[in-house]
Symmetry: C2
Subunit: 511 residues, 2 copies
């Protein structure tokens, strides 16, 4: 079934040690031929044999998740569920429907969409059949979906995992497998109305989550291209120069300038002219000023972009959110497919005072207009204009996680309402019968999986896991046809007639 | 970035047509060298060029999801959300916490766990670094998680996608990418208490979903192994013979017998002796009879298994669910890792009378005890006994989908409560201001993305998408400081003072 590759076969023949250095660090970092020359596990027989061998002093197989990925234990999963549900409820508030697409896409669907980042796509082994890859984002699959189903009008959200063979920076919330939360509006509409709604959504989510002060930077690819044109950049260098400008949020202008002149081959004069524009940021007054700019106002694209930017600011004023919006000419966004408005939200400061070293989080949301992407998939090139936003859930999660840790608050990982307990031995049957009644009535109930657990142990379990009530059946309660209902926090106990137990539990747990 | 493989390079050199037959059928089925010899898309430049070429009469790139996978458009996504939430609420009712693990696992983690099915694992291309694969189920990652984190005691659920390079049978709900919904209890407990709870969960979920009559078949690997032993099967043939027995639900005994004798090399006498046992099914009385069986009662494993089966039936009697449980000696389950109780739920008949050709669905839930799997990952081989259940959500989804279609009922795909509308032109600003107030108050609201939509069009949109209310602001309403609230179904309209609008909407939409 599994074939021995030539390299592996050679290694086996030369009797190399069966388990070369397999420490997690070694594995994570190794890209050499040695790492790839191990005999695949499938050729070694079941792992149980390996473990038995390990007990005899040999090396054990690596016990880890792949580089850049992580498990979410219950406390993290519960926090993530809360966070995702806040984001999704905002998307639903704005009338979006959910769709789901496969994690796998045809390799050809993804190629040629992400510029330089195409190299970060995970490809599947050719095992016969189609050539496949893991999705890199949710936007390209959405465009593929629209073209494939000839949908020309849709407001959808999609919360799912995406994959990038990037250099992980896990403490900053950068992973190789991570969730994206996307909201997009596809369709031919009047200018800037859907675009304004996307910014409103970012504003609502970041406000709801109380992440501290934030700023949403806005720009337009048409304005940037107009700037490049009037500064004398040849059209074929727009995209490379754009990705250089994109670095302005991390490095100072001097460095960006020398990359433009050195790597990208601009004249120093052109670079200086660009510098004058891309360091500008402001609001409506800046838009007005640029609309009067003698050079820029002559450029058709820039004029269109500035006109729309003005309209956008009008709408954002009606939404009452311009206080956190900055028209910022240095914002460029990495991806090729943007054609109009682009935006990115950044947290201005960390307000979790308890934390000594605040997490550096970078941008927490981003998006823009991509009017050409769907057309790239349509056999006749029919375009469907789209605008959308992606919430950087992993970075937000890192902040909330650290904040929760600092607060010492313990998040409940289950929703159990009642523990069914017994105070004496030989009452397993009574517990099973009672818990079954509770489950059938829709009560969230647990019991310990021991025949005869001590009462104290059962009550400790309630305290440890935050279960608010214990329903206790002993010999006396059985004889009397009652159940002793105990409030775990106050330790108060009351006998409740068995037939009234479900109602009493519901009453006690009403919000 | 992308290297030209020798085969692709040769094809390019020989000037083969750039786009050999790419019809979906051809692609899906092709496993020959030709299919694999295409020039990768990355070497052909961006797809936009391909599309432009296509407009000139050449072939277009394939627009599809990978074989055996599918998109979920909004109606399906909404139905799936309902279904998953019913399953998850049952898991929560039983006190399970959520965990999440990566879709990617180290290849070595998965190898040697699935017997013959190991060949169905999707492997990732070696792009440098670790050798990775897509998870085949949620059980092996759970065992890896327990061993890695030295967790010896946990009740968890996990709802996520898994991947199998199987032959898809999509109409029967069999896909290459599909959701699994797993509930597992890990820990050293008194016998059969967690096992009984798993069966209770299957019973609750299948009852809640009203899928029609069902049967849960139960057996125990120890009983099966005991049967094989007393019938004279050598121990090294237990697993192969077990997978032959597993086919009894699909093919008649004669065929199973000839596979045993032919392929698996059993003596005809041994096969016949097995046949006498594995065709038995019943309840407590069958367990009692087998406990008295002169041969089986002499076998230690079988005796243990039968004793535990008796205990299980006692507990299931207390849960009141034995009516739908059958102790069935033909049940074997495909996977290697089971060590004790195994079970599988099947629907007995399709009750959707509207449907002419009922979906053939097979088993809709399955699981069992796997006490050795965690130990396979632990460096010291420490065992953590586990028992769990997996709900076959895709098959259930197929049934519900077909039933919904037959009923003609239309599922709402959004939750929008109010459409903000205007009856005259030049009122976009009024709509934007009002909708922003509603969003900020937590009301789910939409508006059309047109500057001046016709009122009729706005009201039609409500009817089409099931929005119950329209909040209409015209010139008169603006002057009067009111909003006209329209009940879409009854067409009744009332003027509401603007400051009372939010409360009135909430009041109207109370359940």
């Amino acid at each position: 079934m599994l074939r021995l590759g030539p390299f592996a076969a050679a290694a086996a023949a030369r009797c190399l040690p069966a388990w070369p250095c397999l420490g997690p660090l070694c594995l994570a970092g190794s890209r050499g031929s040695f790492a790839r020359s191990w005999l695949p596990a499938g050729d070694r027989g079941p792992l149980s044999r390996q473990v038995r061998a390990a007990a005899g002093g040999e090396r054990v197989p690596v016990l880890k998740t792949p580089k850049g990925t992580r498990d979410h234990p219950p406390a993290q999963a519960a926090l993530r569920e809360r966070l995702l549900s806040a984001v999704v409820s905002c998307f639903k508030r704005h009338g979006a429907a959910a769709i789901d697409t496969p994690v796998l896409e045809l390799r050809d669907t993804l190629m040629g969409k992400y510029g330089e980042d195409t190299k970060l796509i995970y490809e599947l082994q050719d095992q016969g059949g189609e050539l496949l890859a893991l999705r890199y984002d949710l936007t390209v699959p959405f465009a593929r979906y629209l073209a494939m189903n000839k949908v020309t009008n849709m407001k959808r959200y999609h919360v799912a995992k995406v994959y990038r063979r990037d250099n992980p920076a896990m403490t900053r919330g950068r992973y190789r497998e991570f969730y994206q939360c996307d909201f997009d509006i596809a369709g031919q509409f009047d200018p800037m109305i859907p675009d304004a709604e996307c910014l409103k959504i970012v504003h609502e989510i970041l406000s709801d989550l109380q992440l501290g002060n934030f700023l949403i930077k806005v720009n337009d690819r048409r304005i940037l291209n107009g700037v490049f044109a009037v500064c004398g950049v040849p059209e074929n260098k727009f995209i490379p120069v754009c990705s250089t400008v994109d670095k302005l949020d991390k490095v100072p202008w001097d460095e960006v300038r020398s990359e433009m002149v050195g790597e990208k081959g601009l004249s120093p004069e052109a670079a200086d002219r660009i510098g004058e524009y891309v360091q500008l940021h402001g609001g409506l007054e800046l838009i007005e000023r640029l609309l009067q700019d003698p050079k820029l106002s002559q450029n058709k694209l820039a004029k269109e972009g500035l006109g729309d930017m003005k309209l956008l600011f009008e709408y954002l004023t009606l939404f009452g959110i311009t206080g956190k919006i900055s028209f910022d000419l240095s914002l460029a966004r990495g991806l090729d497919y943007y054609t109009g408005v682009i935006f990115e939200a950044v947290l201005l400061q960390q307000e979790n005072e308890h934390v000594e070293e605040p997490v550096s989080v970078g941008s927490v949301a981003g998006g823009g207009r991509y009017d050409g992407l769907v057309g790239m998939f349509d056999p006749k090139g029919r375009k469907v204009p789209c605008v959308g936003v992606s919430i950087g859930i992993e970075r937000i999660f890192s902040i909330l996680e650290q904040r929760l840790e600092a607060s010492g608050e313990k998040l409940r990982t289950t929703e159990t309402q009642v523990l069914v307990a017994t105070p004496q031995k030989h009452l397993l049957a009574a517990r099973l019968k009672l818990i079954s009644e509770l489950w059938d009535a829709g009560i969230k109930a647990e019991m310990l999986y021991k025949k005869d657990p001590k009462l104290l142990k059962q009550l400790h379990y309630c305290e440890d896991t935050g279960i608010p009530l214990a329903a206790i059946v002993g010999e006396q309660e059985l004889a009397d046809g009652v159940v002793k209902l105990r409030d775990v926090a106050t330790r108060e106990e009351v006998d409740i007639p068995r037939e009234k137990l479900v109602d009493e539990i519901r009453r006690r747990l009403e919000p």
